[in-house]
Symmetry: D2
Subunit: 406 residues, 4 copies
């Protein structure tokens, strides 16, 4: 029999860019008793999470909560707003942008994939100027939607969504703006309404600190209007019945009650800490990580300092070093999981997650494991990144305990 | 702040026909730490649940596990095997059969809805003879699939799936057989391979005793072959990439790890008890419930004794009694949730769930609550159903503790 | 390997008079992370439970919380107040009164054991008149303490503690009054200050709904004064250092943090429901139980209706019936644990616990299991006790859900 | 309302020398349902833990498990073996040795307290030669027991118990040997039988990784014989009835069931890892810690390298630095708890716990927090202790994952 809760002595360090470690508070909330999803207690739970999740997306519009993992919410964003054969403009920022494009094709859409040549696009964010130029050229308005990834989980690059909105507006183009912030939500600043996003796609297992299994579509009035005409077949993902049932806190089909308990707790935790404090904490841990990487003499995957991700940092390996071998050694020796490089850059880098339920000392453990592992794997290390990170954290420290007590 | 774990003194009795109460063992398993879904430990978990779930469906073929609730698995069964405009023959057994038909329409299929007139069909099971007659008439083989519900959760009628298979074969018709046993699996006998089912749809929150959030498609080679030609757009639900990734115990996108922990535990529990013992226990509790209903002088919703459900029993109210008022009174006075009547028969009956993690004394509590509630609501009660149920249970008792120790 | 969380399908019914079933809310609270017992968070926890526990004892005086089970608190009450060779007047109400007397002997005290002859005392409560008479005869005040059990867990008899106080006062005797309400606290009305008790002994695993492992001494100024002169050796149980450290919410040695988390939650639950509501609920379930016992034609162990226990009911077996055989059959067939008869009356009766986290339907399950088990064991049963209990509950019902929502 | 499960983002680092962090596996086990402590399931649990705990003490003799915290087991060791006025020879190794001596006095014994002058004894272990000399001088055998602390939690010094045994034997003295290894058990090598210990005292909240609330006496035949004649009053702590009841896996009074579940799980975890692996892991983490301390240019509290504790390391502050201020700063800024200096050396040092459920990266987090905190507090730090520790760990690493899989 497999022992599912087996681990070597001490706690495993799960430092991939999601799923992120689930805090005990949330695990406990998930163990509340399953209740009648048509009863009064459920309605109260539903109304609470539906109201509070809007604060995270910074929207006044409906947010759909799906009892399904994040990939499903990608599909929902497309099938609710588009019709077979529609052209969509997507931008290649990395592996997940590529997968979303592949999905659009599978669903019968015609994605156009903008991007920089080779792996360059995987080191930079969305180029709003390229989007604007393409939209200006589309005088017939064949393009029905622009799809971008806010925080590319495969690279550690966070794009400027507001700039994309400005580009669309500057081009005077009616395309919808669909944004994936699956790994950005509740870690990186995100403003659905202010940035004029039509559909924001997100998931539970990153900044929200939940296990996978819940995903989201935040909507705009324009997106809802588009859904009335959109012809792609849909049922499970269809917004209309969900919006209707949500008015009273219910779902048209069985919602995943226990994950909603977890979501409720996660929302409480985040709103108690304060979104701005959450974002500042992520920025701080990310900067400490980058200082460590630079001290080691290694390159950060994100080549544009204005787009560094607060969620994860991609660490490029010197030529000839297999990043997956380094990861494997760290996993076996120090019981820590790091994110593997995906797609085009497989084996070339690894990803350090510093999101969600993470603090200074967790990060120091993580960086220590990386530094020891790099050395053991024979990767030349210029100086101690751990020392560099400590210097940053000690001179830019906040006081989590005092702040919490305040 | 809503207190999600608030309940009056003592345990709430959740006696709806699903979600069923989640045993502590499963809740504990769901609290194991979330792990890297691309790491070696996850692969071991994935391989285990993928192997063991086949034993529950009684199949040697692949079983797809979706990180989504049951309604999604309905959609998956249709979109993987059919093309826009295809005719599907469906049978009206109750509210859920009706919802599945509605979904087929929404997805661009042409459902034909067989059934008995009025509410008669909601008191009987699938009529295999009617299906056979219809298929014989379809000499052009326009009908691409026959869709039936095995255990109608809205009525408490369990249909004879093997008879439907025989009907299709007798008609010499090539249609696929798609079966929903969302509420039947792991409570009522079910045999995917032996009965020649092409796609079986099921969910986690009934006989498997899990919270909602996982659903299934069990496949046949014929269904897999059909999926190669099927033209309905699909991505999240597409079988091919999942089957491929499942070979090593992984998923093409983020699986819902913590619910898979729960599934693993549920499978252990069911296989330890033994499927036949599980079925016998459900039959026994169902029979005791029916004896109580008859003693009360009330009618059982299922009018065909050969199709009584082992999962739930629908209890019809006398004319003039609002079943939802009775349910509300029982909920408020005895802290017990019963299932409401849905669709066509709303207010006419209530449903007693006796599935999953249920035993003799839990059932006696349930029936006591019903009996007291009926009287308080002014429903004439002929004799004590509780006494009738005790007589049956005491004279047909097994010994759970001794059996468990064996 | 023993599977500690193994149980047959469905929930075990633990209907012994303690340990009582631990609600999930408390189990979850017990899983909060263990913290530094000298840190600021611990102090806040300590101050909270030390303040709230006084409300349960209805005292303004210090309540000592021991990280030890209830038997230890018996010892603490004696060793803190008495000196070697001291005479103590104890009253035989049952097995636990007898054990306490045995302990007094072991500690070097001279217990005098008042009581009715034979097993009569085990069917009645404390006779305050006998105590008064004995104290009047003790003109030299050789008796240093009167020790009585408030709620005899072995019989189901709840004695009148206020009457004992009046008896002592009427005799003009300076003896201390020590009372064991291990199984009475938070189930039966108890008033430490008003009743003039000097030391009240209690435990965690009954009305407080916690696992065993915490016990209590509620003190009076007179008891504290007595402790300055008392000569029995003591260290772990010594009040003085604990009282001192408790002022800031700490303990002089390592407290059992996780059970204190549980205690905190239990206190919240009880105070939310309201002590009077808790008592009324226990009285109601007890009366329903007694009506069932009478309907069966069996005798209640407690022969004095004014002293029926709200916590448990002792059910006497007809001559020739081995109560333990009946219990064993019920355990094996219905997965329910009942309390065994102890000491002098072993095999003559069994005990039904209806305390703590118990409600109407749990009680109905319990009584159903008893009724079926009695019949299976061949005990003649006059009429259905289950029906009698339902009649009482339905006509004297409160509404737990509505009350909770209020 | 105090939120007991409140913590700032990320996990609190509890690095005091006990209570040590409780692994999730143990917390989950503690949530198993409380059962009848007189029923068959409890007996199986009792027999298992009573058998397995002997392997941890390395004894074939009875081990008493008390439902009380560690201080109680100190009292039990004394009251079961000694009589009022008996002389006991104790050795001052630190704060806990001093508290034990104080307890002996309170219980009416006459402790003689050997030791080095001033605070010197608090930097060294037990001097077996001094004990031998004292026993040789006691030709009348007035000394009835020799009491020593194996692992002084207040200083981080682990004494040589076998040497004490040899000293007693060399002196030809019949005194019993009583040893406190509350913080040593299951972290440092310990051999009750081989070392000829008569009573070993231990607790749950250190190497056993449980919450506080369970404590132990491991016995020898000589100790059991002594208990027959010992005259100190005792009841709760009395061995005889417990030994008798334990034969079948039960206790004479209510045991703390849920902590026993936790103990069972802890024993499984430790025996799965292997005691020798557990000890080696502790030695390794301790050595890494000492290298860090030396790199910082600070002194280790333990002045005798042969007696360094594998459980904790005391770090002495330079003159003029208040160790508690340093600890407070680290707590507030990095959410980490370190152990405070107790008694004679209050404010002079702090203690780093590296025991129980601890691994390389947890230790690195801990040392990083110390290093940053020392600097922030203005303590001069010679060089990076973190770097020194990493060098040691990377060059002396074992592979926990590979080892676990083996």
């Amino acid at each position: 029999m497999i022992k599912l809760d087996f681990h070597p002595a001490g706690r495993h360090f799960l430092q991939i860019p999601g799923p992120s470690p689930v805090p005990d508070r949330i695990l406990r909330a998930m163990s509340y008793p399953t209740i009648d999803h048509r009863g009064p207690e459920f309605g109260a739970l539903g109304r609470k999470v539906l109201a509070d999740i809007k604060k995270i997306f910074k929207t006044e519009q409906p947010v759909i909560i799906y009892p399904a993992s994040g990939t499903g919410a990608w599909e929902a964003a497309l099938t609710n707003t588009l019709s077979p054969g529609d052209t969509v403009l997507m931008f290649e920022t990395g592996h997940f942008a590529t997968l979303w494009k592949k999905m659009a094709q599978a669903l019968g859409l015609k994605p156009e994939f903008l991007g920089l040549p080779g792996v360059e696009g995987w080191r930079h964010g969305v180029r709003a100027d390229m989007i604007e130029a393409r939209l200006r050229a589309d005088s017939a308005h064949a393009i029905k939607a622009v799809c971008v990834v806010h925080n590319e989980t495969s690279t550690g690059v966070t794009s400027d969504v507001a700039a994309v909105r400005r580009a669309i507006d500057a081009a005077g183009h009616p395309a919808l703006l669909l944004v994936d912030t699956i790994s950005g939500l509740a870690s990186a600043d995100y403003r659905h309404d202010e940035w004029g996003v039509d559909v924001t796609v997100s998931g539970s297992q990153k900044g929200l600190m939940l296990p996978p299994g819940i995903s989201f579509n935040a909507l705009s009035p324009k997106a809802i209007a588009a859904s009335k005409a959109a012809k792609l077949p849909r049922a499970f993902w269809a917004w209309d019945e969900i919006i209707e049932a949500n008015k009273n806190g219910y779902w048209p089909y069985t919602p995943n009650t226990n994950l909603l308990y977890g979501l409720s707790e996660a929302l409480d935790m985040i709103l108690e800490e304060g979104l701005d404090n959450v974002f500042a904490r992520h920025q701080r841990l990310a900067e400490a990580t980058r200082r460590a990487v630079r001290a080691w003499g290694l390159e950060i995957q994100c080549a544009d300092a204005s787009m560094y991700s607060p969620v994860l940092t991609g660490v490029m390996m010197p030529d000839g070093v297999d990043a997956d071998e380094v990861r494997k050694r760290i996993y076996e020796r120090f019981d820590m999981s790091l994110g593997q490089a995906l797609g085009k850059i497989r084996g070339k880098m690894f990803r350090i997650g510093h999101l969600g339920d993470c603090n200074d000392l967790t990060l120091m453990a993580t960086l220590s494991g990386c530094e020891m592992g790099l050395k053991l794997a024979g990767v030349p290390v210029a100086a101690s990144g751990v020392v560099a990170a400590m210097e940053y954290l000690a001179s830019h420290a906040d006081s989590p305990v005092l702040k919490a007590a305040a």
